[in-house]
Subunit: 206 residues, 2 copies
DNA sequence: CCTGATCCTGACCATCTGGTCAATATTCCG
DNA sequence: CGGAATATTGACCAGATGGTCAGGATCAGG
């Protein structure tokens, strides 16, 4: 039904401007969610005019969808990097560290997905129940095996993953609150790294 | 500057309609955030006309602010119910259970605050750095004392509180994702209760 | 350098939305 | 009951916003 199959050739200008637009869209959508962002904002962030943005994407909805799908893989990559052949506790701790690092390096991406889920995931429903579920189930299977082998303490693997997601992304999504509560002169992400390391060591040491 | 000081008397109709409006506003704001909700939606949820809503509140902004402040106390109450004279581990576990119960009973309230923080907390900035910080610091002081007395394992109290917030509210705010990943036929909140109980027992047992 | 394809824009439109207002209905109370 | 205070509403306005379009600028390749 869609085109761009045999000829995905994008001209240099197309490549560059689509990139600019997605960059501006990330800025805008992560700040105010889908409804809070306007095409004009996206255009200004991208350094283009509004009609020009709509020359490359047919609608605001399409920009949003393209942005989400272009970031989803990167967002889920750390989970897939858990090595079934590695040392269990070290693998989990490395995953926690990687997710926390993403909250530091890519807070806008974190907020983008947070908004999307909060809004009911209108653009991600099929992915949530399909690809994401499979990826999580595979990681959960590895964790379960480790637990069965006595190399990791027994806990529900899915909720273990949820706990990692929620605690690490909290420092990106609720940054305002975290900083307000902690007060100035502290480094939330650094403290969180130590806290989470200790937490998962205690929770998972067999 | 403001009125309603010596005479906060609200007629029966006022009382009832303000209540209806705040109820409709909770429904609307928790679904789409401040920008995603329209006064007309609020009015329909409340069973009133749009101009009538604006007869009781002068602006959408005021509705939002009134709703947040009316719910904030209830939202923070469990934290203040931690008893400094109680048994440390039991007190923390009770707090975790209470917060999780709120995710089950009041998911709309949870999402309302989640949106507000994500959007940068434009209506809560003074509260975040003022009242909230103080409440959290007091709870943190109690936790710290317990840890110093050797009745609780040593961890950063602030991040301990953040972890409780993030993990419990996760089940309300990201409900769509949780259910999509777990698949049908499971009870996320019930499983979470067991998981979190085990987690905090291991983390905090001295 | 010419020409067709690609790229870009100002002007414009329809719709939505926050908010106003004059007029009407309802309630309250002496 | 009767009139003042309170509630309610339909009609309306102004600005914002998603999206369109005809025409002009720019670029690629022969």
């Amino acid at each position: 039904m869609t085109e761009r199959n045999s000829a995905p050739s994008l001209s240099r200008i197309q490549q560059k401007n689509r990139e600019l637009i997605l960059g501006g869209a990330l800025e805008a959508f992560s700040a105010g969610g889908f409804r809070g962002a306007t095409i004009d904002q996206i255009a200004r962030h991208a350094g283009l005019s509004k009609p020009n943005v709509l020359y490359y994407f047919t609608s605001k909805d399409e920009i949003h969808k393209a942005l989400l799908t272009s970031l989803l893989e990167m967002w889920l990559a750390p989970l897939q990097r858990i090595d079934p052949a590695g040392e269990p506790l070290a693998e989990v701790l490395a995953y926690v560290r990687a997710k926390l690092q993403m909250s530091r390096d890519f807070p806008r991406e974190s907020r983008l997905f947070a908004y999307e889920i909060l809004e009911g995931a209108p653009h991600l429903t099929e992915i949530l129940g399909g690809g994401l579920r499979q990826i999580v189930d595979e990681a959960a299977a590895v964790l379960r095996r480790w637990m069965a082998e006595g190399r990791l303490a027994q806990v529900d693997p899915h909720h273990l993953i949820f706990s990692i997601w929620s605690m690490t992304q909290h420092y990106a999504d609720f940054d305002v609150q975290v900083r307000a509560v902690l007060g100035p002169g502290r480094d939330p992400l650094n403290e969180a790294a130590a806290f989470l390391d200790a937490l998962y060591r205690k929770l998972l040491s067999p």
